[in-house]
Symmetry: none
Subunit: 282 residues, 4 copies
């Protein structure tokens, strides 16, 4: 039995894969990041017909190299981590798994290529790898702002959908299939295109009545956008308040420093005791 | 005479339909919600030509089942409620009625199908059924914010319409019917499409002068969107602040102090009683 | 000499035209408003070819009736007002004049019809006529907010134009006339269409490099819209502050009322003197 | 040796070119501004085919006049400034150089015309020339607001890109090349067009599933726009408040008080000296 030996071997591998403090760990992270980017670029290039027919074999080999690397990485992550199950069913664990298997199941089923899009999610590792604590902090704030205004956002989305269904049905009745509004689902789709001010123009109202209703929908959509913006603005303004304190115009008798905290008893610059009365009398 | 017996029968039905605390009440609510959703899906599917020709009879039977259920539900609601008139002319009462009748009047008139779009409004019952007090609260806040900024929004809409009419007339003169600007109403419609940044592209300026004016309209529309957003943002930011109260222009007869709380009875500066009428008269 | 008599005649006419307190004044205002709306509807209908060929004579007669009424109104306004010059060169005076003359000069020049668009501006009188003081107040606030952030808005517009000129030139070089980017001015126009997120789609990049640059422009435009919104939001949030005061948690010894103004000396509810120390000690 | 003489000659030229206080300096600035505008107009007109074929020679001569003036100006700026290197490698120095050379290198290479777009950047001189301190102030504020919310904006852009890559891949799989989604890069481009609510409409989903996904993307994009707006709004609202200072998480060794000013040297509560290193180490 040589548990320490084995543990030490797994321990070192764990450090390389999960940490980025050693030179080896950094190298691994950089290679991983490059391979993730490469895997996305490869998937993109394969989809461009001109490029695929010309360089099909190179792309196919590249795909295999990445898949093999991802496979080894995935196995190594499972082996070295203390609680493999926790990793496998974690957010990153599932993404890692789905990023690895597409090539394997392409032998079994054709058309499993939609899994390739999951690879883009691996890009999120960039935050971890580069230890961008600051950016993670911002992302956390953003997520918290979104979560705390979840109820507002759901009410808003529900309102958008009800408007789209009603207006879509009316547009279908007014314009009809002869003007491109083929069916109510298509009409509802067009309403959302219009409400969100995207406006593709593949379908557009032709009758005066349809154009009138479209005008109402557009102005509605133009106004509705103010709602989520107002919500997030208010959330953000409030969440910022934790990093700021109110200061007053009281000045220190000793060094003349101003803009002290409202409840300051000592000068933040020279440590002199502040005269609380002097402020109140002013 | 057995009023208690009868009242008890109506009472139990009332509890099933209007409340959601008993198992039967919950079951009824879930079935109702499913049928509302189904009724909307049915209307949508009927409008898709391929599906309608294939499954016309099934859809037609489904439509009848839903209509009969809605009819019974509508009658039951009228019978069990204490003040039937109040229900019939309430918001939900009218929606329930309009959701029920389309199939009946389709025997009398063709083309009454536009009433089917009303059914989407029944979805609003989801809030009631699921007792989503929290979401109703959010919706109320949203509605209050919109109501309190009603004057601003009307001024804004009026400005948008005046701009659209003026710019539309100019575009019609500049571009003319040969470039798709068939008439002034069409031009005004195009202006709103552009101002709201929807931009379908079914009509687009071709002449340099028209493109110049279009540029001005677009930048105007791009900037104008800031106005409703700013309004709602400010409303929301304010409504969150429980540390502020609204003050009015009433002035104290004794010391002349102004900016009292709206509900103030005594001057905050000298303690003199304030004359509530003096404010109303101003 | 009968100046009082004459003055009284002009005085009464002045009251009818400029004021809205007498029944005659109200009637005049309502008729004026209806005629302004009618004049705009007439101009619009004339531009619709199908309607114009059918009802040309009725429309032409209607146009003459409105023009004659506007002429008399314009003359009456000049006669009855104390300082005719001040009226003639005022904002409303010029609009009234330009709304009246198009039919007259159509005898002299063809194509003077662009003046008809000025009539839409007469709609602004609606605020005056209906004495909608509240809405005028909102409009004034809006105008003040726009004026006080004039410098910011100009810097913003200048930035948008410089970006559009640079990106437009680059798009012209990349895409070229063969893909619809006919000339640099057209390219700049397309850039503004894209920056403002209108996106007509009459011109769209085809080459990969062009699509890449378009992506950058779109994201830029998507982000830039935050700037005017942020400006107006901040302006509005501040301008609202004048109607609110900060309140604290101090409670009245006599009636227990809370949320007094920070500088309140007496309770706003019962007039009891507040103990300033009790607040500071808390 | 006549250094003073020569210095005086260079000194006077320096004053004309770099300052705007003397009549000659003002004249120079106005001429420069006109020539910059003219150079941009010339580049634009050359690109319009109808105009170029007709007035090619005039435009070509104009181009040469401007290039020669710019050349002399560039040389004069280098001669008269004290530290020529600092100027040459400054922002304005590089722009001045790139604005001057296109015509010269057009003898060497064809297709160097993309440098002409740099000339638009010379327009930024307008701020310097017109001494629009106020506008420069606003621009600085805007830039500072953007810089201070840099981390947030990068996180936001990254999120947009990841969403676009994932949704783009899915759209390519769903719609396929036969519906205009030629390749994944094109699909990603379409996703950004949709997310930013530009919506050209050159490519639009046709299948029901594609339209469903498009709906999700649109609503996502419609909601995401709230994020940068909220960020900038909060930044602006905050930057207006000179009554607030940023605080950090450093805690006092003596009394444990937290939330000190970023530049505090002494604790505001007990007057103990703060250890600046303790904060940096955390």
């Amino acid at each position: 039995m040589k548990p320490t030996n084995k543990r030490s071997w797994r321990y070192r591998l764990h450090e390389i894969i999960y940490e980025a403090d050693t030179p080896m760990g950094k190298l691994f992270d950089v290679i991983l990041l490059i391979l993730i980017l490469l895997s996305i670029v490869l998937v993109m290039l394969e989809s461009v017909q001109g490029i695929d027919t010309k360089y099909h074999e190179i792309l196919y080999i590249g795909e295999w190299i990445i898949t093999i690397f991802f496979t080894f990485e995935y196995i190594a992550r499972i082996i070295t981590v203390k609680k493999p199950k926790a990793y496998i069913f974690s957010f990153y664990g599932i993404i890692d798994f789905l990023s690895t298997i597409p090539l394997y199941i392409s032998f079994l089923f054709a058309g499993s290529s939609f899994l390739l899009s999951v690879r883009a999610l691996r890009l999120l590792r960039v935050f971890r790898i580069l230890k961008l604590a600051r950016y993670v902090g911002e992302a956390t704030k953003l997520r918290r702002a979104l979560i705390s205004s979840r109820a507002k956002i759901l009410v808003f989305l529900f309102a958008v959908l009800v408007i789209a269904v009603i207006a879509g049905t009316l547009m279908y009745i007014i314009e009809g299939p002869e003007n491109g509004f083929k069916s109510i689902p298509t009409s509802v789709y067009w309403c959302i295109v219009t409400l969100t001010t995207v406006g593709f123009g593949d379908i557009a109202p032709v009758t005066p009545l349809g154009q009138l209703l479209a005008t109402v929908i557009m102005i509605l959509g133009y106004g509705i956008i103010a709602v989520p913006t107002g919500i997030v603005s208010a959330e953000y303004t409030r969440s910022k308040d934790n990093d700021y304190v109110h200061v007053n115009t009281q000045s220190c008798r000793n060094c003349g420093a101003q803009r002290h905290r409202d409840d300051a008893k000592y000068c933040h610059k020279c440590g002199e005791e502040l005269n609380p009365k002097s402020h109140i009398e002013t």
